[in-house]
C-alpha cells in the first residue's frame, strides 16, 4: 500500500536518508528500528510531508505523494511529544482534524464520541491537556490521529515517554487497537523490545540506509549483516577464514577462538575468503562434560563472569585463545550441585544450524 522508492534526504551535504526503498502492506504494524541519528525520524517526516525529499518517491495506494503537503495526505502522525493543543479541550483536540474536513457538526460529535470511547477517555472529554497524565495524553494524541480514519498512521517513538509499567500495558493496547481498526501503522523507535513486540515486520535502519527488512523472527534469527545482528539482542560475533565447503556447509578456521567451526551456508564460498559468523548466547549449551560433537560446534573455556538472574544465568566464558563468548542458559534444575560456578572449566557447544553467516 505504501511504496517508498529510492527516497533520499540530505541537509546541506549531510546525508540523512540514503536511497531507501520499502514496501509496506495494508493493515501491517510495521516498525522502523534504529539508534538515534540513523535517519528514521527524517524518513518518518518525509512520509508525513514535513520534509521535502532530495530524491525518490513516496506512493500511497499508487498515488504519488512525494510533493504533497501534510494537510493533503491520507497520513496522520502521532508526535513523540503528543503535540496536543493546550488551549483546546480533549474533545476539541480530537475534533480538530474533522473540522478541517468540514464535516457536519453532528457527524463530528458522533465520531469524536466513538473514538474517545475506543481509547477509554469518554469521561475526560472536557478537560484541557495540561490536566491529564502522560498515558492519557498519549491516548488523546492517538484518538486525534485515528478519528480521521487515515490510510496510514505514523507513530514517533510512541512508548518512549512512558514509564515501564505503562509501557508494557500500552504496547498491547496499541497492538490490539491496530488489529481492531485494521489501519496500517508505522512505528519509529530505537527500542528493539518495542519493535519486536509490536511489529509484524521490522526494518532495521542504520546511517540512512535500510540494513534489513523482515519479521521479528527473521531479523532476530537470520540477520544478514553485522549491524542488524548486534543491534537486536545480544550476540557473539566471530571472524574466520573459509577452509572448505561441502553439501551446503562451510567450514572455517577462526584464529580468534583457536577453533575450526562449521556453518550452514547455501553459497559456495572459496577457500581463503574471510567470513564473519555469529551465534546467539541462548543457542549455546554450557556444560562441564564434553558434549557429543555431531552436527555441533564445540569449544572449551573457563567461566570468567557469571550473572545470576533467577530464571536464567548469563556466563562469560574465556576460551584458551583469550576470546570471550557470552552464553545464556535457563536455570532448569533446582539442585545446586549441578550449577556452574566461576573458574569452572566448561564446554560450549551449539548446533551448526544455529550458526549465523553474516554477509557484511
Amino acid at each position: 500500500m505504501v511504496q517508498i522508492r529510492g527516497l533520499s534526504k540530505d541537509f546541506n551535504g549531510i546525508v540523512a536518508v540514503d536511497q531507501v526503498s520499502l514496501d509496506i502492506q495494508r493493515g501491517e504494524l510495521f516498525a522502523i528500528l534504529g539508534s538515534s541519528g540513523c535517519g528514521k525520524t527524517t524518513l518518518l517526516r518525509m512520509l508525513a510531508g514535513f520534509e521535502q525529499p532530495s530524491g525518490g518517491q513516496v506512493l500511497i495506494d499508487g498515488v504519488d505523494m512525494t510533493e504533497a503537503p501534510p494537510y493533503e495526505r491520507p497520513v496522520n502522525l502521532m508526535f513523540q511529544s503528543y503535540a496536543l493543543f493546550p488551549h483546546m479541550t480533549v474533545a476539541d483536540n480530537v475534533a480538530y482534524g474533522l473540522k478541517k474536513e468540514r464535516l457536519p457538526a453532528a457527524q463530528i460529535r458522533a465520531r469524536v464520541a466513538e473514538m474517545l470511547a475506543l481509547v477509554k477517555l469518554e469521561t475526560l472529554a472536557a478537560r484541557k491537556p495540561d490536566k491529564l497524565s502522560g498515558g492519557q495524553q498519549q491516548r488523546v494524541a492517538l484518538a486525534r490521529a485515528l478519528v480521521k480514519r487515515p490510510k496510514l498512521l505514523l507513530l514517533d517513538e510512541p512508548l518512549a515517554a512512558l514509564d515501564r509499567k505503562l509501557r508494557e500495558h500500552t504496547q498491547f493496547e496499541l497492538a490490539n487497537l491496530q488489529y481492531q481498526l485494521g489501519t496500517t501503522f508505522v512505528v519509529v523507535t530505537h527500542d528493539q523490545d518495542e519493535a519486536m513486540v509490536l511489529a509484524s515486520r521490522i526494518a532495521v535502519m542504520s546511517e540512512g540506509r535500510i540494513a534489513q527488512v523482515g519479521t521479528p523472527a527473521e531479523v532476530y534469527e537470520y540477520p544478514t549483516n553485522r549491524h542488524v545482528a548486534s543491534f537486536v539482542g545480544n550476540i557473539n560475533l566471530i571472524d574466520g577464514v573459509v577452509t572448505g565447503c561441502e553439501a551446503g556447509r562451510v567450514a572455517l578456521r577462526c584464529e580468534a577462538l583457536n577453533a575450526s567451526l562449521c556453518v550452514v551456508c547455501a553459497e559456495a564460498l572459496p577457500a581463503g575468503e574471510p567470513l564473519c559468523i555469529a551465534v546467539r548466547p541462548e543457542k549455546i549449551t554450557i556444560s562441564r562434560t564434553e558434549p557429543d560433537a555431531t552436527n555441533r560446534n564445540v569449544v572449551k573455556g573457563v567461566v570468567r563472569d557469571l550473572g545470576y538472574f533467577g530464571d536464567q544465568s548469563l556466563y562469560r566464558v574465556r576460551l584458551t585463545s583469550g576470546a570471550v563468548l557470552q552464553v545464556s542458559a535457563q536455570n532448569l534444575r533446582r539442585s545446586a550441585s549441578l550449577t556452574i560456578e566461576w573458574d569452572d572449566e566448561v564446554y560450549l557447544s551449539w548446533e551448526v544450524a544455529s550458526t549465523i553467516p553474516l554477509h557484511s
Partner: protein, 268 residues
C-alpha cells in the same frame, strides 16, 4: 543552612525604599490641602477635583490615550510579523540590517530619534506635500517605529520556547497554513502579543522627548503638558495625576498577576 547575609538584605531594603519613596511621597502630598510641600494643610481632594475641570489636561490625556492605543496595536502587529519572520524564515534577505534596525531603537537616545524623525517629516513635506502639519499622525508614526522593537523582543522570547510541533500537528490533521496560523500560532503567541501591546501602550503614553520633536500646533500630549508645568517646580495637581496613574497601574498589574497565577495553579 543558608546564612542570611545582613548586608544583602540591607541593600535590598534600601533599593526598594529608593524605588518607592518618591512614589509614596507624591501620593501622600496629592492629598495635601496646602500647595507647599513643607506644610501639611490637612487632608483634601481639591487637586483631584481641579483635574476634572482642567480642560487642557483632559484633552491632552485623551489625545495621549488615542495615540497610545493606535500605535500599540499597529506596533504589535508589525512587531509580531518581524519576530515570526526572523525566527522562522531560513534565508531572509537583509537579515543583518533588519536585526540592527530592530535592536538599535531599544537603546537609541530619544533625542536622536526625535530629531531625526522631525527632519524626515519636514523633508517629506517639502517633497510630497505630506505631512502638511505635524500632529497626532506624526506622533503615532514615531511611536509605532520605536515600539516595534520592544514587541519584537517580547514575541521572540516566546517563540524561542514555543513548541513548533503543535503547528506541524495541526497541518498533519488537515489544517492549511492560514488556518493553522489562526487556530494554533496566534493562541500560542497571545500572552506575548498582549504583553507586547501593553509595553508599547505604556511607552507611547509616557513618551516626552520624541513627541515634543515631531508634534505640531494643537497636538499636545499629556507628557508634554506635564513637562511644561513641572519645569516650574512642584504642582499639586500633577501629584493628583500621578496618584491616579499609580492606582491604575497597581490595579492592572495585580489583576494580571492574579490571572496568570490562577491559570498556572489550575494547570498544576
Amino acid at each position: 543552612m543558608k546564612r542570611r547575609s545582613i548586608l544583602l538584605i540591607t541593600i535590598a531594603c534600601f533599593g526598594y525604599a529608593l524605588l518607592y519613596m518618591p512614589i509614596a511621597s507624591v501620593v501622600v502630598y496629592s492629598f495635601n490641602a496646602s500647595r507647599l510641600v513643607t506644610l501639611w494643610g490637612g487632608f483634601s481632594t481639591r487637586w483631584y477635583v481641579s483635574l476634572l475641570h482642567d480642560d487642557k489636561l483632559l484633552a491632552a490625556a485623551f489625545l495621549s490615550l488615542r495615540i497610545a492605543v493606535i500605535s500599540a496595536t499597529v506596533a504589535t502587529a508589525l512587531g509580531a510579523l518581524l519576530a515570526l519572520a526572523m525566527h522562522r524564515v531560513r534565508r531572509l534577505p537583509g537579515r543583518l540590517l533588519l536585526s540592527g534596525m530592530i535592536t538599535a531603537p531599544l537603546v537609541m537616545p530619544e533625542i536622536i530619534t526625535g530629531l531625526s524623525l522631525l527632519f524626515l517629516f519636514i523633508s517629506m513635506a517639502s517633497l510630497i506635500g505630506w505631512p502638511a502639519t505635524r500632529g497626532a499622525a506624526t506622533i503615532t508614526i514615531a511611536h509605532i517605529t520605536f515600539s516595534m522593537a520592544y514587541v519584537v523582543v517580547v514575541v521572540r522570547a516566546r517563540l524561542a520556547v514555543m513548541d513548533e510541533s503543535l503547528e506541524e500537528a495541526a497541518m498533519d490533521l488537515g489544517g492549511r497554513p492560514v488556518a493553522v496560523f489562526f487556530d494554533v500560532t496566534v493562541p500560542m503567541l497571545l500572552p506575548a502579543l498582549l504583553s507586547g501591546w501593553l509595553l508599547a501602550f505604556t511607552l507611547s503614553l509616557d513618551d516626552l522627548v520624541i513627541s515634543s520633536f515631531v508634534s505640531g500646533p494643537g497636538a499636545t500630549t499629556l507628557p508634554m503638558l506635564i513637562f511644561a508645568k513641572v519645569r516650574l517646580g512642584v504642582t499639586p495637581d500633577i501629584n493628583a495625576i500621578t496618584t491616579i496613574i499609580i492606582g491604575l497601574v497597581i490595579v492592572a498589574v495585580t489583576t494580571a498577576a492574579l490571572v496568570t497565577n490562577r491559570r498556572r495553579a489550575t494547570a498544576a
